[in-house]
């Protein structure tokens, strides 16, 4: 008998959820463990459910809607959509995260709605974030979301996987954000379309769970369906006390078949910046240093976590945001805000001149909280810099790590953060 080839994380999770021996390329109907929508997409999903004639969700404990993109509501149209979401929660029993709770991609894992080994879909492209937690999570549209809310299952094409390994170690002042920006530059915006990325190696092992989430969050920027990692002791410790579900980690087999295998030496990667208006338009920071900026953003589902606040606070401690810069800070969740207050980071950042906004998406998608003016440059920890992304198509968005943003708001120009780190006497 010919031994069957081993499986990737994606193939294992799809096998377990479809009751089939799933391999890349198969189309399967699989059970989902959780379905999520945000305030830009849930209203369409709710309407799709109505159009389907469906009045109940398959399991109220496995469905949540989150008000994060335009929250608190800036206009009455949004207020009406928020009302619609609250009523949906009351009617179906689905969980509602209201204004001030935070960004969906922080809340879903933080509240223990998913655990390692799960399969979940969200009506938001950055749902791939929980891949860092060994969850096969992927973004879908509102109609798919509605079908999943109604039936608890959805059809999927099992993706091929690309194995990405990081060797070496990160230099001081260089972060997981720099690794994923670098990879976006290497592979391009469609470098992994229809595929799952699977991240491995000592550098990933060394990262905190939060740092890993930054990488998986941006898998979609390379076109990938998911950005998966193994669950290790750190992952399991992170889930302790976060709800009742039991993790069921899925490790890839040693002989798993990958579509491609890529290896990068992380020691050779410095701070990276994505330039307007494409996430794969990436340069080492040396090439854009000195570019003037008028707005800095710390936050979003990419980099709005406690560790990101710690990094920014360590650079801004005892320093001031340049008077020509607005520095907007948005914690990814209420819990992170509380933790950042307790750790003193909020005090440090606000004293330095930051404008703190409600936990949520912040100015990321141009619906509230800091639309840039004509001709202005922004440096942001977000994941997208498309033209018009922040609400003004005549502004220019650069993406970098929290350290790069913190260093840049001090000088009102893009600044290499390594000068604030040991051995960085540049």
């Amino acid at each position: 008998m010919i031994p069957l080839p081993g499986k990737t994380i994606a193939e294992k999770i799809f096998s377990a959820h479809s009751g089939t021996d799933a391999h890349a390329g198969d189309i399967v109907v699989a059970d989902v463990d959780f379905v999520m929508g945000q305030d830009g997409t849930s209203p369409l999903a709710i309407r799709a459910l109505e159009n389907m004639g469906v009045t109940e969700v398959f399991d109220p404990k496995k469905v949540a809607v989150v008000m994060d993109h335009s929250s608190p509501s800036p206009i009455e149209g949004v207020s009406a959509l928020h009302t619609m979401m609250r009523e949906f929660g009351k009617r179906t029993g689905a969980k509602v995260y209201d204004v001030g709770e935070g960004v969906c991609h922080q809340l879903i894992p933080e509240k223990g709605h998913v655990v390692p080994g799960d399969l979940m879909v969200g009506c938001d492209s950055h749902t791939c974030t929980y891949g860092a937690l060994n969850v096969f999570s992927t973004g879908v549209g509102s109609t798919d979301g509605a079908a999943a809310m109604a039936a608890g299952k959805l059809w999927f094409k099992v993706p091929e996987s690309v194995k990405v390994t990081y060797t070496g170690a990160l230099q001081p002042g260089v972060y997981s954000k720099d690794l994923i920006l670098h990879l976006a530059g290497e592979l391009g915006a469609d470098g992994a379309t229809y595929e799952a990325l699977e991240f491995h190696g000592p550098v990933i092992d060394d990262l905190s769970v939060e740092g890993r989430m930054t990488i998986s969050n941006m898998a979609i920027e390379l076109g990938a369906k998911a950005g998966l990692m193994k669950a290790d002791a750190k992952t399991l410790a992170w889930f302790e006390g976060r709800g009742e579900k039991t993790p069921n980690p899925q490790d890839p087999d040693a002989d798993a078949v990958y579509e491609r295998e890529l290896t990068f030496d992380a020691s050779a990667i410095g701070p990276q910046v994505a330039k307007p208006h494409a996430v794969d338009n990436v340069s080492p920071i040396e090439e854009v240093e000195g570019t003037p900026i008028a707005e800095g953003v710390l936050g979003t589902c990419t980099n709005g976590r406690l560790e990101d606040f710690a990094i920014a606070a360590s650079i801004l401690k005892g320093r001031k945001v340049h008077p020509d810069v607005r520095f907007i800070v948005a914690p990814a969740s209420r819990q992170i805000l509380l933790d950042a207050i307790e750790a003193g980071y909020i005090q440090t950042l606000v004293e330095a001149g930051a404008a703190l906004v409600t936990p949520g998406c912040g100015p990321c998608v141009g619906t509230h909280n800091g639309v840039p003016s004509n001709g202005e440059n922004v440096i942001s920890t977000a994941n997208r810099n498309f033209k018009g992304r922040m609400g003004n198509s005549n502004s220019f968005i650069y993406l970098g790590s929290p350290a790069t943003v913190a260093a840049s708001v001090i000088e009102a120009k893009i600044t290499d953060p390594r000068k604030y780190f040991e051995g960085g006497e540049r």
Partner: protein, 166 residues
């Protein structure tokens, strides 16, 4: 059924923020009102050009990259876009297009110029460039997707079958 319309041609990597900017996303109750802004970042006159007689949106690689907003295929449908023809599509857009009933065709769009008149017979698998007098081959849709499109999208599929029947 054959759809006949003019091609409106754009480039590679057209993302969902260009198809419909996030700032209009919250008008989502009014799809006709949003459709006026379809493709506005790239071509402020897209809606005026396509709405009266309908058209094919023709693009290069990775069409529809970016967000999961289903308003993207919906504004195209409401602007009277008959189908999107591209070399490759981003995954979520492709799925959303099928689910909402917008035909998507993966083909070599270098064989189409802006303004060419095209005849598309999706079921028959024939795409003709009438202006150039050529036929452009394209792979058939996988059966799951063909069935969803034939049912008129996922909502109609659900209504018809009372759930998934794939």
């Amino acid at each position: 059924m054959t759809i006949s319309a003019k091609a409106f041609k754009y480039g590679d990597d057209i993302n969902t923020d260009y198809i419909i900017s996030g700032k209009y996303k919250f008008k989502s109750a009014d799809m006709e009102g949003m459709a006026v802004h379809a493709m506005e970042e790239l071509d402020p006159h897209y809606y005026e050009k396509v709405k009266p007689e309908g058209g094919f949106l023709v693009a290069g690689t990775n069409f529809g990259m970016g967000s999961s907003r289903e308003q993207a295929p919906l504004v195209l449908i409401h602007s009277n876009t008959k189908a999107v023809l591209a070399k490759t599509f981003a995954r979520i857009f492709y799925r959303n297009a099928i689910n909402t009933g917008l035909p998507v065709v993966e083909c070599d769009t270098d064989l189409i110029n802006d303004g060419d008149v095209l005849d598309l017979d999706l079921e028959g698998g024939v795409l003709k460039n009438v202006t150039q007098g050529t036929e452009i081959p394209f792979p058939p849709l996988p059966p799951v997707m063909a069935q969803l499109l034939a049912d008129g999208g996922l909502v109609e599929h659900f209504k018809k079958h009372g759930g998934f029947a794939l």
